[in-house]
Amino acid sequence: MPVTRQQRQVTTRNIGVVNVDTGAEQVWQAVSRTADMFGEHAFKAAARQAKQTVEDRVQSMTNEDLFTIDPETGKYSNLNIPSSYGQIAADAHRTLIRQRFMNGIEDELKRVGQEYAGKYNSAQYKEMMSKHVQSMIKAAQKTDGVDTPFSAPLTDIGNEYVARTYAALRDREIAAAKKANENAAILGLYNLEQELGNLAATGQFGPTYLKKLGEFTQLNQALYESSNNAAQYVRNRKVMQGIEAVAASGRLSTMLGLSDDPVVVATAKRALEGDATAIMEITDDAIRNAVNTWFTYTGGKGGDAVIRSIEGVAQRGDEATQAKLTEQFDAMPAPTAGTTLAEIHQQVMAIKNVVPEASPEELALLSSSRVMMALQVHAKDFDGQALTAFADDLRSGEFKKSRKFFNNPDQVEAMFDAMSEADKATLNKSISERYTTTSRLESEKEQGLIGELKLCVIGY
């Protein structure tokens, strides 16, 4: 039997390393991540809340709060970020206060601008506003004068606002001045129209009339150049032509009434009746020119009224109008020594308002009658001898001698003294022309000429 030798069959085996990770670390990491997530949400909510709080505070600030200046520093006190603010609130405050400030600048400038515009003219406004803007810029700068995000835009906005509003204010002033000038011109034209109408209606076509006619033309031209209102210019030209037509008619009727050449008068009447060829047949140069002028201004219309005037027949309206005029005439206060020609004209114009249907001829007659009444208060007598002496005195230029014909010689003399030499010469010439045929005038006509003569004196 063989011997069996046993070999080792069991040995120690490799047991390996056991993983001892229980997952505790992952649990705590999860806890941490969850807390981080909630913390992030809380942060976002707190950030929103901070922004909202700052926004509410900034928006609730009034312009006065915004532009409040610290008396100690001379700087805007509410623009700085409060020291307690965190970064988010500070950022929000910085952004919002800038927006608010930028919006407020215009309002602040408007407020002050309105105040200054109400107080000062454009030049003063510009000066005062520029000073105010400079003070605003200074208040927004740092203490060492360095610009801040508030002062830099303020410089641009402020200067631009002042320039813009100053230009607008200046334009408005210029427009207002222009309008005032236009209004003054319109008023002046109206007054001249009235005065010229009165002069023409009362037969006064002397230097005063011509002077005022020239003023009317110049003023109308100036008004047109200023306003560019062509319609107004044309209207005024028509008014002037109307007055000239009245004046031409009056002047012509006076000249024809004084003419002692029946052939000239008859030829002129033909022209007045519409026969234009008759104008050149008039041998008297002055009358021919007057008829020509009358034709130019009237277009040959209204000649019958001139003829009636020459024939001493005043154009009259219907009986009702006559009755109204008579009533108004009687109601007028009796003239006194102090009554002036202007007052008489005002009274006549007032009658015109009451009786608008009254014709210019009727009003002229009424005016002349009142003037006669006024002159009767002044003059002592109207006899032919006195009239001749008066005319002689005047014709010789001895104005002061005429004082003896008036009840109030000092007043008349003062009027003479106030006349210029040119006016005295014109008056003298006018009287000389009118009184060369005085001795041949009938009594009634003589009375009328005395009225005209004295009217000339008072008119000056």
């Binding site: 080792r8 390996g16 670390e25 705590w28 990491q29 806890v31 941490s32 807390a35 909510a45 707190a46």
Partner: protein, 150 residues
């Protein structure tokens, strides 16, 4: 002005920081346990190496005894120089084997020890990182809270 949201931010920051600290501690504990496991594994491997050496010696002894029996039978109990030389050669092989096994055992033991130490260090470092993360989280929560103050 201190609001509820700001309080919540701080509270959540604290919880997150505590969680990170705890996670670090857990990581360190796990590493220590892992190191212990590695050391146990090292002991087992050492035992295996000892056993392998013993097995090798047993094999040598068995082979020597067998050879002696056969040689005795063949030579009738006489001594031979060539047989002695053969035995000497076999003994040298044994010594070399035992030497190699012993050397391997020592290397493995050292490697295991080193791995355990590294694992412990890794755990400690994880805990330190968690601490710094926790500090960062708390700081962040505080800074965020301060940001939202009005």
């Amino acid at each position: 002005m201190f609001t509820a949201f700001q309080g919540l931010q701080l509270a959540m920051g604290a919880i997150s920081a505590i969680g990170q600290m705890q996670a670090g501690a857990a990581a360190a504990g796990t590493a220590e346990q892992q190191a212990e496991q590695m050391e146990i594994d090292g002991v087992v491997k050492e035992a295996q190496a000892m056993e392998n050496m013993a097995i090798r010696i047993d094999q040598y002894n068995d082979a020597t005894a067998t050879n002696d029996t056969i040689f005795s039978f063949m030579l009738g109990g006489a001594e031979s120089t060539s047989i002695e030389a053969f035995k000497e050669s076999e003994r040298r092989v044994l010594v070399k084997d035992i030497d190699a096994l012993g050397r391997n055992m020592n290397l493995e033991k050292g490697a295991t020890k080193l791995a355990a130490l590294v694992e412990i260090e890794r755990g400690k470092n994880a805990q330190r990182a968690s601490f710094f993360n926790a500090v960062s989280t708390m700081g962040n929560a505080y800074i965020n809270m301060k940001k939202t103050v009005t």
